[in-house]
C-alpha cells in the first residue's frame, strides 16, 4: 500500500473521540475507530446507529461493527464541543423508529403520486440501481 494513502488514513487514528461513518444505504454509525485499511474497511467499537428524523434523533446501541469499505461514504471526526451545542433533540428508540416509519410512509406516498402523474403523461423515470454504478 502506497505511503500516501497510508499516512492519510492513519492520521484518522489521532482523534480520541468517536467517529461518524455514513454508509451508502443512508445509515449513520458512530463509534470508536479501531481499525482501517486501504479499502476503507473499518472496525468500529461501541457503535451506535443514529437515526435522524427532522430535528430529532435516536441512538441504537449496536456493539462492534466490521464495515466493508465499498459501503463507506464518509468518515468524520466528531467534535465534542459542536456535539454538545447541537440544536437536535434526542428521543427514545421507539419514538425515533416510529418517526422514521412515518417519514418512509410519507415518502412512498409522494413517490407513488409522482409516478402516477408521470404515467398519466406517458413518461417514466427508471429508478437508479446502486449496483449499476459498477
Amino acid at each position: 500500500m502506497r505511503l500516501v494513502t497510508l499516512s492519510l488514513i492513519l492520521s484518522l487514528f489521532l482523534s480520541p473521540e468517536k467517529h461518524l461513518v455514513l454508509l451508502r444505504d443512508g445509515r449513520t454509525l458512530i463509534g470508536f475507530l479501531r481499525s482501517i485499511d486501504q479499502f476503507a474497511n473499518l472496525v468500529l467499537h461501541q457503535t451506535v446507529e443514529r437515526i435522524h428524523v427532522g430535528k430529532k434523533y435516536g441512538d441504537i446501541p449496536r456493539g462492534i461493527f466490521v464495515v466493508r469499505g465499498e459501503n463507506v461514504v464518509l468518515l468524520g471526526e466528531i467534535d465534542l464541543e459542536k456535539e454538545s451545542d447541537t440544536p437536535l433533540q434526542q428521543v427514545s428508540i421507539e419514538e425515533i423508529l416510529e418517526e422514521q416509519r412515518a417519514e418512509q410512509q410519507a415518502k412512498l406516498e409522494a413517490e407513488k403520486l409522482k409516478v402516477q402523474a408521470l404515467k398519466d403523461r406517458g413518461l417514466s423515470i427508471p429508478r437508479a440501481d446502486t449496483l449499476d454504478e459498477y
Binding site: 455514513l22 451508502r24 443512508g26 435522524h52 461514504v73 464518509l74 468524520g76 465534542l80
Partner: protein, 106 residues
C-alpha cells in the same frame, strides 16, 4: 498560480494538492445527495479526499454532519468536486496531461 506540476503516474492527486481555499464535494448516498464544502487537507492515489473545517450546504436537510469538523471521503462515492476557478491554471494542466499521455504511450 497555485498549481503544482503533477508527479508522473498520478496526475490528478498532484493537481488536487495545491488548493487552499474551500472546495465543494458532491456525494451521493442512497437517494440522498449532499454537497460538502471544506478545505482540502490531502488526497491519495484513489482520490480519497480529506477535508477540514467542513460545512454542509443544507444543514436542515442533513443534520448528521453538524458535529463533524474534519472528514475523510472515499474517492469512489464522489460524483464531482467543484474547485475555485481562479486557482486553476487550465493551460498548465493541459500541458501536464499531454506530457503524461505521451510518457504513457512510450
Amino acid at each position: 498560480m497555485g498549481l503544482v506540476m503533477p508527479l508522473s503516474g498520478c496526475t490528478f492527486s498532484g493537481f488536487f494538492k495545491s488548493f487552499t481555499s474551500p472546495i465543494h464535494v458532491l456525494i451521493p448516498y442512497s437517494e440522498v445527495t449532499s454537497v460538502i464544502c471544506g478545505t482540502l487537507h490531502s488526497v491519495d492515489q484513489y482520490l480519497n479526499i480529506k477535508l477540514t473545517d467542513i460545512s454542509v450546504t443544507d444543514p436542515e436537510k442533513y443534520p448528521h454532519m453538524l458535529s463533524v469538523k474534519n472528514c475523510f471521503i472515499r474517492g469512489s462515492v464522489v460524483r464531482y468536486v467543484q474547485l475555485p476557478a481562479d486557482e486553476v491554471d487550465t493551460q498548465l494542466l493541459q500541458d501536464a496531461a499531454r506530457k503524461e499521455a505521451l510518457q504513457q504511450k512510450q
